[in-house]
């Protein structure tokens, strides 16, 4: 397993990664989630051995990797844009690490076939990277990284360069592939969807520090603070009276702050909250509303399709307790 202890990486005087400790058990996928510039890519490079540590340690199965150069760590790094070798064909790219290990060419051919099959690119062997689409390149990069069954695969925003549909599909594929291969993976991303789609565990990073980590649903249910909540996809954070009113309506004990997802308030004639509809937008699954709730303010809400809700209408709302999170903060 991978263990980071008090890792600090500096660029000049500024710490890009500040005192980060993380653990990643074998076979698990850990996502490091954070806005751009938070130091997550640097962290990944430090694990790969591409950035020297200012202090702290990176170890694998208890062995400190400080003296181990990148190529001897047995980790595979997949860059954001794939970084395929432009002068090599797809098959040669995938076979790269195998050839480094002088694998017999018959076995190389079989393995390349398997891997291209795995990433859904059978028959692409002789293409040059320049002729591939972004998604195809990422798949080749993934196949290349998986070729020698690395003990840890490092993924740098593997899906962010792709369009939405492709991202969704590839995310599913990637998760299946990682699980099928039983690969331990460390993933950095700024996209919580990507993190949720791929990871078992989550670490949230901000300003070079890890502010929260845990199992993905734990983190998702209990964000440590407002910023984290917003970054995890919560739409709004209510405080004081507003929070108390909503919690009361949900039948929960009072708390100082609560984070709401956009679907936390649902139009329901039996609901305890009264609100005026400001705007309504129809989506394929439900109607998304912005409403003004008395004593709470402007918040998001949803209504089932066919509810015929229009701006200006007065509606009643109930609270979906699975779609809110209490924040452990005080005034």
């Amino acid at each position: 397993m991978l263990a980071l202890r008090d890792v600090t990486v500096r660029y000049g005087d500024t710490p890009a990664v500040d005192d980060v400790s993380l653990d990643l058990a074998s076979g698990q996928v850990l996502a490091v989630l954070g806005p751009s510039g938070c130091g997550k890519s640097t962290l990944l490079r430090a694990v790969a051995g591409l950035e020297p540590l200012a202090s702290g340690s990176v170890s694998w199965d208890g062995a400190d990797l400080a003296g181990t150069p990148t190529h001897k760590r047995g980790f595979a790094l997949m860059f954001q844009d794939g970084q395929l070798f432009a002068h090599l064909s797809v098959a040669r790219n995938v076979a790269y690490a195998l050839r480094l290990r002088r694998t017999p060419s018959a076995r190389v051919a079989t393995r390349v076939g398997e891997l291209l099959d795995l990433v859904g690119l059978s028959g692409y062997d002789d293409r040059l990277p320049g002729t591939l689409s972004g998604g195809e390149r990422q798949r080749v990069a993934l196949a290349r990284a998986l070729a020698v069954e690395p003990r840890l695969i490092l993924l740098d925003e593997p899906l962010s360069a792709l369009d939405a549909t492709l991202r969704e599909r590839l995310a599913g594929d990637l998760r299946a592939i990682l699980h099928a291969a039983g690969t331990t993976a460390l993933l950095v991303t700024h996209d919580h969807e990507e993190a949720f789609a791929l990871a078992d565990r989550l670490a949230v990073m901000r300003g070079g520090r890890v502010v929260q980590q845990g199992a993905i649903d734990e983190v998702w249910r209990e964000p440590v603070d407002e910023e984290t909540a917003l970054f995890l996809g919560y739409a709004r954070v209510l405080r004081d009276d507003a929070a108390r009113r909503v919690l009361d309506a949900a039948g929960l004990p009072p708390a100082y702050a609560v984070a709401l997802r956009r679907s936390a308030l649902v139009v329901d004639d039996a609901g305890p909250l009264r609100a005026v509809v400001e705007s309504a937008r129809v989506t394929p699954e439900l109607v998304r509303l912005v409403v003004t709730v008395e004593g709470v303010g402007t918040v998001d809400a949803v209504a089932p399709l066919g509810g015929r809700v229009a701006p200006g209408d007065e509606v009643s709302l109930r609270v979906d307790v699975t779609r809110l999170a209490l924040l452990p903060i005080t005034p």
Binding site: A48, P69, H71, K72, A76, F79, Q83, F85, A86, L100
Partner: protein, 544 residues
Amino acid sequence: MRRIAALVALAAAPVLVLGVLFVLPVAGMVAEGFVEDGHLAPGAVLDVLARPRVHRVAWFTVWTSGVATALAVALGLPAAYALHKLALPGRAAVRAALIVPFVLPTVVVGVAFRQLLGEGGPLGFLGLDGTPAAIVCGLVFFNVAVVVRTVGVAWESLDPRPGQAAAALGASPWQVLRTVTLPALRPAVVGAASIVFLFCATAFGIVLTLGGVRHATIETEIYLLTTTVFDLQAAAALSVLQIVVVVALLALSARLRATPDPTAQRTVAPPRAVRRSDAPVVVATLLLLAAMLLPVATLVLGSLDVGDGWGLDNYRALATAGEDQALLVPVTAALVTSLRTAVDAMWMALLVGVTVSLIVTRRSHSVAERRVRSTLDGFFMLPLGVSAVTLGFGFLITLDEPPLDLRDSPLLVPMAQALVALPLVVRSLAPVLGGIDDRQRQAAASLGASPWRTLLTVDLPVVWKPVLAAAGFAFAVSLGEFGATSFLARDTDPTLPVVIFRLIGHPGEHNYGMALAASVVLAAVTAVVVLGVERLRVPGVGAF
């Protein structure tokens, strides 16, 4: 077809320049050999090619140049890495110092080498004097800077991430070099190697001085046949042979340079701190530096030797015309002429070189277009590979009538020098320009940038450092050029190498000392200018 027409129009100016200054003279001189009594008589020329001596000479040229090129690449690559990728203290100065041999007059270096390698010299025990090994050493000495610079600049702007990706896949540093870095550097390495080969194959003074008269190359043979024997047929035959060899080499080099996809992300990574694992590279670089400085040190010591001790007398004498008035102008005046000539040669070479580089690196849309581009590319390399003797005499007999009455023009010297520097400029810029993703230009254009603005905002920032390096190179080539210059320079304003040659050709201990002092000054000025040119930064462009 429209694109090809536009291409030809853009290329017209440089092609015309090269046509007048190169093709016409060489063709004129070769024709002297082919035409006998007003009739075309190719038979006699072809007979020459059957002579065993010609075969021997051609083979000797090819193998010495080949070995020297291989050595220059082998020694130059580690230095290119160490001096362009590692944060070594004083690396800019070392880079400038390595270019010094490039400008030293061959006759002076020849004497310095012989003082080292000769029977009584400190390295005399090696028994190299007068052997092909000495010639190869000399050729490497003069040309290793070409490899260090052209490859170093390309290396500097190489995206480090593919290499890191390879390392992350388990490639050792050596494997990264072999499988990722060198393939990416191949255009630059092959380009540098072909330039070095051409310089070696047409080397003149160094072959004569170090090889003694026993070893003839095609170039020395052409000189001998033209000036001493006046056998123009044989000279023409060898010139044609030389052109054929050069064209074949250029075709080969173009093939080797071609990469499936030259586009690469260009970044200028800040130089990396030196680690213990860099020791072999650093040591190799230091050894190369020491080997390069040894002959230079001999010169410096010689220039300070005033007979009965050490002193600066030889340097003080540079403001005079030498012992017994050996010179018409003091060395200081010649230095000024040299610098002014070099400025001209530099801008001429850059102007034409940048245009040519842009032409040959734009993405082709058809096979025909690509052929036109690669033919042009090779065409502009030709001047390096063709005998300066043939070219020089060709100037005299073809550029003698209006409107091309150039043989008395003071600009002929910088023009000839620019012609020599041109391939260096093109080979420094082309790999980098070729690496720019065309979509960036398209993006700029789509945002409303004119072609000129696109050039400034997309191409220039990437190519700025290579342009500076090429400028320094062109400047150095001009400062050191002797063959064409001595042939064309006018006595009233000789350049420094010409003056040095004069000094060393006159008896008198002081003239010899002055020649050494003047060489040291030439070397120092060159190093300083090259260092300065590289420091030139347009804010925000060079710094990235």
